[in-house]
């Protein structure tokens, strides 16, 4: 019912919270005052037969008290809302930050639809928790206590009824809450599943059409929707039953109070004004608890969402990214007995790898797919951390945080490029809203690399929108874009995972030319798929089943008539 993680969020801004609580109590005081005045008006008019003129000041007083109470409540809301805002901002920023800290190798396993719904809807549910549920929880403790304190000296029998019936409400709530907790968690899981599934289906709609399976997904969506409806209703039925129970307790208690008051009035033990005052209070007395009941299932949603959110936020980070700006001049990158095993797998992807990449040198990695080249690249980039061994930069362990900004020294061209939802030139510069000088520079470089030529079919040239909501570029075009970026940012090191697509002949020529230009200038580590690339490098590393089996110059390796020789032979056959 009270989630420790969520409460810890409040501890970051206790002031807002306490002001809000104080205002609630103050407002309850004003409410008591107002009802006392109303009871007085009725008593005077009914039993004492006093006229409206004499009662006028009491009316005015009541209106003033009422106005004051409304203002208090308004500020109370404001503080609660502010608190929610602070927490939501904070949690969202942390999720966003965490994504980067966990890095791509972790994030790839997450469904992006589920992540998105956590960031948007999950955090949204926190609003009801902090704005409605939690303040209500506090109010439901403070306000009845206050009322009891006021009522008991006036009429102790009513206060005994009040006192005895109130605990029934949390009692039932806890009972029902226990029952619904599982259902509610299942519910949240189901929502995530539904949203993940829909995202998946929408993303792959074309494939489904091609496979002739798109029509039946309609049925599946229907089935999931139906399961979702049934489960939601199941959860809600409990929620409704819990509020039914609460409501019943409250209304029966009101009736009990009313009848008991009536009986005592008949026997003359009771003053009418006090009786009326008590009756007016009765619904208000149970109101906080009842509202709490109606927010209760919302709070369960929020808690289920919170479980996911905090599970994500508490994943231990494999990588420690140091975003500090240290200047150092790169002299060498060394793999020292490096082994790596992907989480959840038993087999090492690479084992006991030793090699060195010196400044100005270019290395090509070759080997069959699955031989470990890509893992080496990831390790060298610092996207994953060796399970055993060390990777040193200038002799210092890359993961000791000694070397700041290693990644910003590298131009990396992955095999599976990702284009952001902006223009081609903005993708090259990795920033939006480019100024004219930058645009000019990109234009010139794009001419040189042949990118401009290859995107002739794009309607707005370099300003064409690509990625999400834009045009899809071919593999060759994407690689040229990345190579143009490498020229643009002029970093000292190039890491390249060659695109394996069959590029069209013109693009291919452009890519080769651009690449040769880059290779001449930079330190480079390349996963090579083209023989032409391999001819240009200083040294070749040959990988086989996770081991580095050969290294040397191309000619030298060919002469050894071993792994490399066989690879070349296989390709030419």
């Amino acid at each position: 019912m009270i989630n420790r993680n969520l409460i810890s969020e409040i501890q970051k801004t206790p002031r807002l919270f306490f002001v809000s609580v104080f205002l609630s109590v103050f407002s309850a005081f004003l409410l008591l005052w107002e009802y006392w005045l109303i009871a007085k008006i009725i008593q005077n008019a009914f039993l004492d037969n006093i006229g409206i003129k004499v009662l006028k000041p009491i009316f005015i007083q009541a209106v003033v008290v009422l106005t004051l109470r409304m203002i208090t409540d308004y500020f109370d809301d404001l503080y609660a809302q502010k608190l929610v805002g602070v927490i939501q901002k904070n949690v969202r920023s942390r999720i966003i930050q965490k994504v980067a800290l966990l890095g791509p190798s972790y994030m790839e396993k997450k469904q992006s639809g589920a992540m998105l719904s956590m960031l948007l809807d999950g955090v949204d549910t926190l609003e009801t928790y902090f704005r409605s549920y939690l303040p209500q929880l506090i109010k439901s403790l403070l306000i009845p206590t206050l009322f009891l304190l006021v009522v008991s000296p006036l009429d102790y029998i009513a206060s005994v009824i009040f006192f005895l019936t109130l605990p029934l409400i949390p009692f039932f709530m806890i009972l029902i809450g226990k029952w619904t907790k599982n259902a509610s968690e299942r519910q949240w899981r189901l929502i995530t599943q539904l949203s993940g599934y829909l995202q998946d289906v929408l993303r792959g709609l074309e494939t489904l059409v091609v496979l002739g399976r798109s029509e039946e997904q309609g049925n599946k969506i229907e089935a999931i929707s139906e399961a979702y409806r049934v489960s939601t209703l199941r959860v809600q039925r409990w929620a409704f039953i819990s509020s039914l129970a609460l409501e019943l307790i409250a209304t029966i208690s009101i009736a009990l109070v009313a009848v008991s008051l009536g009986l005592r009035l008949v026997s003359g033990e009771m003053n009418y004004q006090i009786a009326l005052f008590t009756l007016l209070l009765a619904p208000e007395y149970y109101k906080p608890m009842r509202s709490l009941g109606s927010y209760f299932h919302v709070s369960l949603d929020a808690e289920a969402a919170a479980t996911d959110i905090y599970a994500f936020l508490n994943v231990s980070e494999e990588l420690t990214l140091k975003i500090k700006d240290e200047s150092f001049s790169f002299s060498d990158l060394t793999f020292e007995n490096v082994s790596y095993r992907y989480p959840e797998t038993k087999v090492y992807a690479v084992q006991d790898i030793n090699f060195r990449l010196k400044a100005g040198e270019s290395l090509a990695m070759v080997g069959q797919s699955g031989s470990g080249k890509s893992t080496i690249m990831q390790l060298a980039l610092g996207l994953i951390k060796p399970t055993k061994g060390r990777i040193l930069i200038n002799g210092k362990d890359m993961h000791d945080g000694q070397i700041g900004h290693w990644q910003s020294r590298i131009s990396y061209v992955p095999q599976k490029p990702y284009l952001f939802g902006m223009s081609i030139s903005e993708n090259i510069a990795m920033e939006a809203n480019l100024d004219q000088t930058k645009k000019k520079r990109i234009e010139k470089l794009a001419q040189e690399t042949g990118l401009s030529e290859s995107i002739l079919n794009c309607p707005q040239g370099l300003d064409t929108l690509v990625g999400q909501g834009g045009i899809e570029l071919s593999g060759g075009q994407q690689e040229l874009l990345y190579l143009t970026r490498a020229f643009y940012e002029a970093r000292e090191i190039l890491f390249l995972d060659e695109v394996t697509d069959n590029l069209d002949i013109i693009s291919e020529q452009n890519v080769i030319n651009a690449l040769n230009n880059l290779l001449r200038k930079k330190t480079s580590l390349i996963i090579a798929h083209r023989l032409t690339t391999v001819e240009q490098v200083d040294r070749i590393l040959v990988f086989h089943e996770g081991h580095l089996v050969e290294q040397g110059k191309p000619g030298q390796l060919k002469a050894q008539k071993n792994y490399y020789y066989n690879l070349v032979k296989g390709e030419n056959s």
Binding site: L66, L119, V209, S225, I252, A258
Partner: protein, 577 residues
């Protein structure tokens, strides 16, 4: 508010209208029961104050108990009923929108982002529940309570009716409308911020590697998202502030009405026109009636939101759908004929294909070649039946494509996409998509054929391993081979291979290509490729440029055209390798 939109939303409600009406009645009764509870209680106290014999009060005591229990029960039934209806409608709508999208995909939807689909399918539909939970039942309940209250008061203090009417009108209609109007742009802004946030977040997640390589860009992106979500919170704060103001005004009005009703009733008591015992009751009834008004501001805003969401959904609903036949057609042959086919991307003016005429007879092996952007993939998609041509006609076995059902077409024509989607499902499920009836032996066979079997054996759950989104557990080459495995599970008459060796690791190019060519031997084959290596054996080659076929003939014919474009390309290629 668009009347057409409201009409559309109501039309979805039609099958349930009896239930909806009942739900609304129940919510009205709930409030009336509460009125009854407090009214009888007030009369009870007042009568008791006059100290009558106890027996006289028994009816009132029973009344108090009855109303107490009725209220709680009614509320329970009402909520259960309304929610059940709402979810049923939403489930139906989800399917309906999906079917529409499925029918449109993908040619009419170029330019829509993935996030946009997702929002429409999931969030917009979710928001619509408020329309069905509140749009009908709350106003109905509101008026019912108002009328009941007025009738009730007419017996005791008819002047109070005016106060009740005016204040309820202010509280239930004017205040919520003002709040809605004044928060409208803010709420629009919030929707926009959500869209921006989700689009940026998707980019952030998928492009994380690049962003990590560019700390400045990473910071920019994070700042951009922080700007959106803090903006979102700020807008929500503003909306919250105003709605709180509205709520407080309504409570203020409700108490003011009670005081007003008392002020009207007190002189009546004095002049003897109203019995004093009913004074407290008049105040109580008026006060409780406001319960119906208190729910209105939130309802009006939520209904407004759902109307907007409904509008978005209706936009999808209104896109013109190509008429598709669902019935099986008799095929006179397996011949594909394209007659004067033209195609252009919607929302873009450029014509992608113009006046294509071509016949592919059964068993023929042809290829489309040309540079990227020359239109060969578009042509393949048209022939695969994924896209629809704007002009001209494509027919298969004597039937126009528009007369062939999707299922039949997918059975006849298999299309290996350039980038086939791997679903967030197990390896087995991903394969079975292509052929649900495939046996485990068949799956094993195709996996071995594409050399994935060993890789699957190394996965933690083997065939039951869940492939993460877009198959990121697999390398690019493995993904492509999985797509090929899926293709091999089908038994089509026509095969379209769109850049089949794309994404493959070099060592697999030749192997996969000969596998595919061998498999297609007795089938019609349409090969789209950049790679001119594999074209020697084909029957004819179509060279495309700027959406037109410029050269046709077999490999040997084409390389012998002196100034031919194909010949030129072939020579460049020969030089490279």
């Amino acid at each position: 508010m668009n009347p057409q939109n409201v009409k559309w939303l109501f039309s979805l409600l039609k099958p349930y209208r009896g239930w909806v009406f009942l739900g609304a009645m129940l919510s009205g009764f709930t409030i009336c029961a509460n009125m009854g509870l407090l009214a009888t209680s007030a009369v009870l106290l007042s009568k008791a104050a006059l100290m009558p014999p106890l027996l006289w009060l028994m009816t009132l005591i029973t009344g108090v108990r009855f109303f107490g229990i009725a209220r709680a029960l009614l509320r329970y039934i009402e909520r259960l009923l309304n929610h059940s209806i709402a979810y049923r409608i939403l489930g139906g709508l989800r399917v309906r929108v999906y079917k529409k999208l499925e029918n449109l995909v993908p040619d009419r939807l170029i330019g829509y982002t993935e996030g946009m689909f997702y929002r429409r399918m999931l969030l917009d539909i979710e928001v619509l529940q408020y329309f069905y939970l509140r749009a009908v039942s709350l106003p109905l309940a509101f008026f019912m309570v108002l009328i009941c209250g007025a009738i009730f008061l007419s017996f005791f203090a008819h002047k109070a009716i005016i106060i009740l009417g005016v204040c309820m009108f202010l509280a239930g209609i004017v205040v919520p409308t003002v709040i809605r109007k004044s928060t409208r742009s803010a709420r629009g802004e919030s929707a926009q911020k959500r869209t921006q946030l989700s689009d940026t977040f998707l980019d952030y997640q998928h492009g994380l590697v690049d962003l990590l390589m560019h700390p400045k860009a990473l910071k920019n992106w994070q700042e951009k998202m922080n700007k959106y979500h803090t903006g979102l919170v700020d807008v929500q704060f503003f909306v919250g502030k105003l709605s709180s103001l509205g709520d407080r005004t309504i409570t203020f009005l409700s108490h003011l009405t009670m005081l007003g009703a008392l002020a009207v009733a007190v002189p009546l008591v004095q002049t003897g026109r109203l019995e004093g015992v009913y004074l407290a009751m008049v105040g109580m009834v008026v006060w409780v009636a406001f319960e119906a008004a208190e729910a209105m501001p939130k309802a009006i805003i939520q209904v407004g939101d759902s109307l907007q969401a409904g509008e978005e959904l209706r936009k999808i609903e209104e896109i013109e759908t190509p008429v598709r036949q669902a019935t099986e057609q008799k095929l006179s042959s397996r011949e594909i004929i394209l007659k004067d086919v033209s195609f252009q991307y919607h929302q873009k003016d450029e014509i992608f294909l113009s006046n294509i005429n071509l016949t592919v007879s059964q068993g023929e092996h042809i290829a489309f070649v040309g540079q990227s952007g020359s239109g060969k993939s578009s042509l393949a998609r048209l022939i695969a039946g994924l896209w629809q041509c704007d002009d001209g006609e494509i027919s298969y076995g004597g039937n126009a494509y528009t007369d062939l059902g999707r299922a039949q077409l997918a059975r006849e024509i298999a299309y290996l996409e350039q980038k086939s989607t791997i679903f967030h499902a197990t390896m087995r499920e991903n394969l079975l998509l292509a052929n649900p009836k495939a046996t485990i032996e068949q799956l094993e066979k195709v996996l071995k054929a594409v050399d994935l079997w060993d890789a699957v054996q190394l996965m933690p759950e083997k065939m039951e391993t869940i492939l993460a989104e877009d198959g990121s557990r697999l390398s690019g080459g493995q993904r492509q081979r999985l797509s090929i495995a899926r293709l091999l599970l089908k038994n089509p008459s026509v095969v379209i291979l769109d850049e089949p060796t794309q994404n493959l690791d070099q060592e697999y190019v030749t192997q996969m290509m000969s596998l595919l060519l061998n498999w297609s031997r007795d089938k019609t084959l349409i090969l789209i490729t950049h790679d001119l290596k594999f074209l020697q054996t084909l029957d004819s080659i179509y060279l495309l440029q700027h959406g037109k076929i410029i050269e046709t003939g077999s490999h040997h014919t084409l390389i012998n055209i002196p100034q031919g474009r194909y010949r030129k390309l072939y020579n460049i290629m020969k030089k490279q390798f």
